[in-house]
């Protein structure tokens, strides 16, 4: 092994460990699976998967101080770890080893997305995570809705990937570079050409799909509704965090170009559409998962708002987006975990009315749901509130205070605040069902131990990040 290979190996050690872990999970199941029952296989696969994640986190730990992308990778590992616990807690799905291995592969994709430093790697990492998520979305073979979710996610996703690749190839054609740093340097001296505008619009379309921002959101409600709960949690949490951190880096490294204003207008349109459509459409949903999907579209609007300030202050934008999407991801994993518990017990649990009387059936689950929903709504002292507050504060702070009202971002912040009030209504509808509505079903709920652990970790994370945000933020800024 020459010096170059060993350098590459040690730089990508977390990804190597995760990949090795995935292969080990598959091999162990192949060798031992014949002699053991389904629950044992599931436990073994999940245990090996968690071990691989633990070692990968260990490999990251020396870089945590002073390297924010390592912190981003660690957060992604945490969110994927919670998803693994959800997988260990669902007994309905078959093929546990493949399920765990694919989740590990998806995490490799996320991790590469955060560290990728050239366009080729960016695209491959994007596809690595996307293709894995398409498979995971269709993993419940007994449910036609799962197949529909996978098909829609796949069709939209592959078109979005084609757009992204087209945009990247235009950038390459303009400069002859694929390394982000050199690409940025060359773009900054280019005149504003229509080609550059079209390249960026295509890239925005690709990432808009990943973030489920309107008008590229059409897959989201169906995918969230039909995919098995752990997969939906991974799509909502890890995939979004990785995609948006990558977009911040792209904006920071190659967004300095003469077309800044045109790019901002396109971004502002995406933000306004996402905020309005997501929050207003969520008001009329009667399905819990669809409600989460539309609220995710609204949250995507706020995240893109933060990304809008990335060219001015990349470090701040990276930190804000990481903090926001980490809290959002914890809350979504938790919310999908609660839905998964209900589905496992009642064979339903998708409708809002299925949450009726939850307080009588399981106070623990209801308290967790309360934390997740209130954090999504942005109620203090939970982390969701500080994430939103931080976002609006930094976006307003980055604007020119003399010409505040002439900036579209000022009005978008006002719109986002107004829409947060709208969001409170539909989030409280869920809690109203859980706490006040009379119970149709009074059997106490049984919660598998791994699912309990996942819910506990997610809820504790949200509360701690909300009460002591400074410990986390100190690592970032």
């Amino acid at each position: 092994m020459n010096a170059y290979y060993s350098e590459l190996f040690s730089f990508h050690l977390p990804e190597v460990i995760l990949t090795g872990g995935a292969l080990l999970v598959l091999a162990a199941d192949l060798l031992l699976g014949k002699f053991s029952s389904e629950p044992v296989r599931r436990a073994l696969a999940a245990l090996l998967g968690m071990l691989a994640m633990g070692f990968a986190a260990e490999a990251l730990s020396p870089y945590l101080r002073g390297d924010t992308s390592a912190l981003g990778q660690l957060c992604l590992l945490g969110l994927s770890g919670l998803t693994l616990l959800l997988i260990a807690g669902t007994s309905r799905l078959r093929h546990p080893a493949e399920h765990v291995a694919l989740t590990l592969f998806a995490t490799v994709g996320f991790s590469l997305m955060v560290t990728a430093n050239n366009l080729l790697l960016v695209f491959l990492a994007f596809e690595l995570s996307s293709i894995t998520l398409y498979i995971l979305a269709g993993f419940d073979k007994s449910s036609p809705a799962s197949a529909e979710a996978a098909l829609k996610y796949f069709l939209y996703g592959s078109v979005a990937a084609a757009f992204l690749l087209f945009g990247f190839s235009l950038l390459y054609g303009l400069t002859g570079e694929i390394e982000l740093a050199e690409l940025g340097a060359k773009l900054s001296v280019l005149p504003a050409s229509p080609l550059l505008v079209i390249a960026w619009i295509m890239i925005l379309a690709g990432f808009g799909y990943k973030a489920a921002a309107a008008p590229f959101h059409l897959w989201a409600p169906d995918a969230y509704q039909g995919a098995p709960a752990p997969s939906a949690a991974l799509i909502a949490a890890g995939s979004k965090l990785a995609g948006m951190l990558l977009l911040v880096r792209l904006f920071a490294e190659i967004g300095f170009s003469p077309l800044g204003p045109a790019l901002q207008t396109a971004l502002a349109l995406l933000i306004a559409a996402s905020l309005l459509l997501g929050n207003v459409a969520a008001l009329v949903q009667s399905n819990f998962r669809r409600l989460l999907a539309y609220s995710a579209i609204g949250h995507a609007g706020i995240v893109l708002l933060m990304i809008g300030i990335a060219p001015a202050d990349p470090q701040m934008a990276f930190g804000d987006v990481l903090y926001y999407l980490l809290t959002y991801g914890l809350a979504s994993v938790g919310a999908f975990g609660v839905a998964a518990v209900l589905e496992a017990n009642d064979a339903r649990g998708q409708k809002l009315s299925d949450f009726a009387g939850l307080w009588q059936r399981s106070p623990f689950l209801t308290i967790c749901l309360l934390v997740f929903i209130l954090s999504l709504a942005g109620v203090p002292p939970l982390a969701g509130f500080f994430a939103k507050f931080n976002a609006f504060y930094d976006v307003l702070g980055s604007l020119d205070s003399a010409a505040l009202t002439s900036s579209p971002f000022f009005w978008l912040v006002l719109l986002a605040i107004a829409m947060s009030a709208v969001a409170l209504y539909y989030y409280l509808q869920v809690l109203k069902q859980a706490f006040i509505a009379p119970a149709e079903e009074t059997r106490p709920l049984r919660i598998a131990l791994p699912a309990t652990t996942a819910l506990l970790f997610a809820a504790a994370g949200i509360v701690l990040l909300g009460i002591f945000p400074e410990h986390f933020l100190r690592l970032l800024f």
Binding site: Y4, E98, L102, V108, L124, P194
Partner: protein
């Protein structure tokens, strides 16, 4: 000569690609796609990248499309049924077409803003060596050399991408035993 060859192959590609979309018979569509891919390969030759051109024809037009044909014939797909298209879809398609054509028109008109050799690349294309392993050349040897040095990581990732797709296909297509 090169120009007229380019126009010939470009026209062939466009016509074949249109045929892929319009044809109702999937086998004919696949044939059209082979023709389009051969056109792409020919254009690689015209761009002085014979190795890429050969790969394009061998891998895509040869192996991948033959697999497509196998699958279409194995599944025994009939002619696509005539589904009536609602007028809103037609309208939306026309609007998109207009927007896209406008964008292309704008692009062509703004062609004077395209990069020139001066503002793109100061270094001439060099042969790859130990000090610049990924330099642009068109030969098979340098191609392989840069794949195993500069682009080692992307190659590995692409390999795992294929593995993941295989795992997915095996898992999803396996018959489910009654639980």
């Amino acid at each position: 000569m090169v120009d007229s060859l380019f126009y010939f192959f470009a026209a062939m590609m466009l016509a074949a690609a249109l045929f892929v979309v319009v044809s109702r018979n999937p086998v004919n569509s696949a044939m059209g796609m082979i023709l389009a891919l051969v056109g792409v390969g020919a254009n690689f030759f015209l761009l002085d990248a014979p190795f890429l051109g050969v790969l394009q024809i061998l891998v895509y037009a040869g192996a991948v499309m033959v697999l497509f044909l196998f699958i279409i014939m194995l599944l025994d797909v009939d002619q696509a049924a005539k589904i009536p298209v609602p007028w809103t879809t037609v309208l939306f398609g026309l609007v998109l077409l207009a927007v896209f054509s406008g964008a292309v028109w704008w692009l062509v008109n703004g062609a004077d803003a395209l990069p020139t050799p001066e503002n793109v690349s100061a270094t001439p294309a060099a042969l790859p060596g130990a000090e610049n392993p990924g330099a642009f050349t068109s030969g098979a040897k340098s191609f392989g050399y840069s794949l195993f040095t500069k682009y080692m990581l992307p190659v590995q990732i692409a390999g795992f991408l294929l593995l993941i797709a295989m795992i997915g296909v095996v898992t999803l297509s396996k018959k489910q035993k009654q639980a």
